[in-house]
Amino acid sequence: MKYSVFSLLKNTLSGHKNWAPAWRDPQPKKDYDVIIIGGGGHGLATAYYLAKVHGITNVAVLEKSWLGSGNIGRNTTIIRSNYQLPGNNPFYEWSLKLWEGLEQDFNFNAMVSQRGVLNLCHTDPQRDAFARRGNAMHLDGVDAELLDAQAVRDMYPFLDFDNARFPIKGGILQRRGGTVRHDAVAWGYARGADLRGVDVIQNCEVTAIKTTGGKVVGVQTNKGFIGCKKLGLAAAGNSSEVAAMAGLKLPIESHVLQAFVSEGLKPYIDGVVTFGAGHFYVSQSDKGGLVFGGDIDGYNSYARRGNLPMVEHVIEAGVAMIPGLARVRVLRSWGGIMDMSMDGSPIIDKTSIDGLYLNAGWCYGGFKATPASGWCFAHTIAKNEPHKLNAAYRLDRFRRGYMIDEKGQGASPNLH
């Protein structure tokens, strides 16, 4: 059933009794052409584009819990394409372009809102780094504006300009960046994939990956063995654990990143703003909550919760940036598990095992990448080779010395 104002009115007349399920609740078939492990944003997007772009519809997405229960359901909803390295920018810009047409494409209102993403700078070297980044974006045809302190003040007069430990000297603004209703992304992709024949199977945990002669043949699950010709791993946060079932060791550590939402407020802050002198970024949801976050806790973790030191730092940075926040209350905090990679950039690639494909290492940048990640991973699986957009995200780049390190922190995952 196509969603529209007409279908809404029609269903209103029948007391909303006749809405079709957004997706089926299928039992797994004996085998599939492609199985994707992970019913989160990336996994569902992959299935959607496999069906839509490549016509591969004999596909199952296996989710060990409920649909969208991973990082697609626990991020801070920001989209942007303000990267500086050639391996990154075209990929993220493609993602942003897909976001721009996504809702009409999958017929689901995900509330894509290009409210602008502003990164503040507080020193000359920071501004120089922004200039380098902004010009890289311009080279790729991506919008970016370098703002001086006054221009920042005109946009957000309530930031701390007068009493700050680190005065705001300006910022870099990407107006096409913004926010998206995160859960709706998972739902929209799931519904779109389901409509095209993909089986989205919840509460189906993979316990083993079966290979024969160096080739994937299927997976063992709590719902029995399911055969497949190709297997894609899209289980960021748990990539190491899943890859280990195939005997692979990854350049990844799992870390917890906390995020927060305030009580609902009338419109307070229009776009996304990132503090440059501490770990804090904030936007406001359509519902009115300030959605914010900071840095990872710093220790390896699979617990979807963090501890108070990082909470305090994030909140301190928040009030340092916006003094008025002191009297706003934080409603809820939660944690997500990040695949922190060795250069801060992701991996979308084939593996040494025939028919096994890897989508991992998203650090805390996975949400914005969801459409392009699914699109490129679908291409990589369908064609058995990476698309040029994800050509840099090879697994062997570490061995060969072609890291994609935006932050320049090297092989220390918790510093990216």
Partner: protein, 90 residues
């Protein structure tokens, strides 16, 4: 989270800096595969995990903390120095 530093006693987590998997060992050989494994690959287990931790706001000793990555329960702490010596023997 609290960590019991062998020198300073039980201290809150913000006094410590984490540096990941302690099971990897700097190779003495010049075998590129061994070096690649050491610098880039991690077991990253869900559960019991030996990790390097520095008491950076305390005695500054590097420690090896054995901790559960799911529950954050700390099972034991030794100095990295002792850990290295035991490992050489092993």
């Amino acid at each position: 989270m609290l960590i019991n530093c062998p020198h300073c006693g039980t201290r809150p987590v913000e006094e410590f800096t984490f540096n990941g998997d302690a099971s990897v060992q700097r190779p003495v050989s010049t075998d590129m595969d061994a070096w690649f494994d050491y610098v880039y690959l991690r077991d990253n287990p869900k559960g019991r995990f030996d990790e390097y931790v520095q008491h950076s706001s305390g005695c500054r000793a590097w420690l090896v903390v054995t901790r559960d990555t799911q529950t954050h329960e700390v099972f034991g702490v030794v100095t990295a120095r002792d850990y290295a010596k035991t490992r050489v023997k092993a």
